[in-house]
Assembly symmetry: C2
Homo-oligomer: 278 residues x 2
């Protein structure tokens, strides 16, 4: 809706669809049951949009396919806007550059691609993040503690000042930088203890949790530790587990089944926590 | 030449052109004297290619212009390959994602775009960098200490283990990860003391130095502290100072003049250091 902030839009779709599920639209030609990326994505969207709060196309998979890939991405975003305008679309781009250049990236992600939100790498610091944040109606998901094994290499280094790991410094900076209320975080579902610590210092920030499904994160712990005090504002992403649930012609139904199971499993945890959908 | 590594190609063009200059091809419609990005870039390339070792298009400026921007980038790379195949082209993309996704980015940068090298953000750790490194004939420039003011926010945090800042950990990791001899670093010319420390632990690695010109780094200190023991393997980038040296129709000549002055100033420092071109 016009004038709505990213967090408002996110809350609205989560309530409407009773879902914290995000489907990662990461087309991999080696695994897709169709050759046509746009047709594949559209079939996935058609089969799942009423069950999700978000779609998250990762730019890498489209860029790897050249012009045709980028055209497919454009078509996919248009298709989502057509059939499910209430669903948020997160451009998973992990961009970040010096201020002048981050401004160009913000324009690309929010104006050219029209994403509701984007993922941003914080390594370059505050002035690299600011041009994204100044697009006040868009969400900015800062990488905090990522889902991969190598996350330990730098993100877990202990900072001398306070004995806390680097990713906790990112979480604290994220809170400081959140003057427009549009900062969000990325924390891997594969690391529930780290997630708990981050949630404690950022109690009211949306957190995107990749790493369930193919990356085998513990879903229950991720939900429990990822949601806010009301059982909301966690976005739980699955990509490969949904897209490639079947490699036969029944892939849309299989994707719907996998999405439904994920949504229901999450909602069961919310019920156990005494925070069901109203 | 076929079978040549990135570092070999870089050394060859530096010697042939007696230059450590890289021109950053960052087209900004608000400042360009021509509307046509490809025509602008081609004019800059035609006016400067014999004076440089590298061109560095930053993806952000092309992505911000949508499909037309990406077409202009494609045409620019083809133009450089046509008139100056000896010059290296560095895709300034600052990418980095979990392993599966970094593989897609590596394909995009090295196969789709055909860059000789790319810049990569190390925040996600070893497994996010590995897919780039496994393209053994391409250079991988890891962001170490960037040129912007915000670089201090995270990169300067002191790590408890050894009392060294985060960026020095990145430099040490870069050395460990360098099993194929294709790891390079990015260190801002705006921070000559930090550059000196990095060069000391990575004595033989190419270092890309952004931040002279518009960002006002101290050129002499950057050259002195950035080169290896033989006065080589530093790549000194200027973007705005060259591209927008004139906003009139004489912009190619003005760009050539600015490039020549930068090359000569650098070469003067090399002479003072007793490391002139042969």
């Amino acid at each position: 809706m016009p004038g709505e902030s990213f967090v408002q839009k996110l809350r609205r779709v989560c309530e409407a669809h009773q879902s914290l599920v995000c489907v990662g639209l990461d087309p991999d030609p080696a695994r897709m049951p169709l050759e046509d990326v746009l047709a594949f994505n559209n079939a996935i969207v058609d089969a799942t949009y009423d069950l999700v709060c978000a779609y998250k196309p990762n730019m890498a998979f489209y860029e790897a396919l050249g012009t045709a890939g980028l055209e497919a991405l454009r078509g996919t975003v248009a298709h989502i806007r057509g059939c499910a305008p209430e669903v948020v679309v997160i451009g998973d781009a992990k961009r970040g550059d010096i201020g002048n250049t981050s401004r160009a990236y913000a324009r690309a992600l929010f104006e050219v691609w029209g994403f509701d939100a984007a993922t941003v790498n914080p390594y370059l610091g505050g002035d690299s993040v600011e041009p994204f944040l100044s697009c006040q109606d868009r969400g900015v998901f800062l990488l905090c503690r990522t889902s991969n094994p190598g996350a330990r290499d730098l993100q877990d280094l202990t900072i001398e000042d306070d004995g806390e790991p680097l990713y906790m410094h990112v979480a604290r900076r994220a809170r400081e930088w959140n003057v427009h209320g549009n900062v969000c975080l990325v924390v891997g579902a594969t690391y529930p203890e780290e997630l708990k610590r981050v949630r404690a210092v950022c109690p009211e920030m949306p957190i995107l949790l990749p790493g369930v499904g193919a990356q085998a994160g513990d879903l229950e712990a991720a939900v429990r530790n990822g949601v806010d005090s009301e059982g909301r504002l966690a976005i739980i992403n699955s990509s490969r587990g949904i897209l490639y649930a079947s490699r036969g012609p029944d892939f849309p139904q299989a994707a719907r089944g996998a999405t439904e199971r994920l949504r229901d499993s999450i909602n069961e945890v919310l019920c156990q926590e005494g925070k069901p959908w109203s």
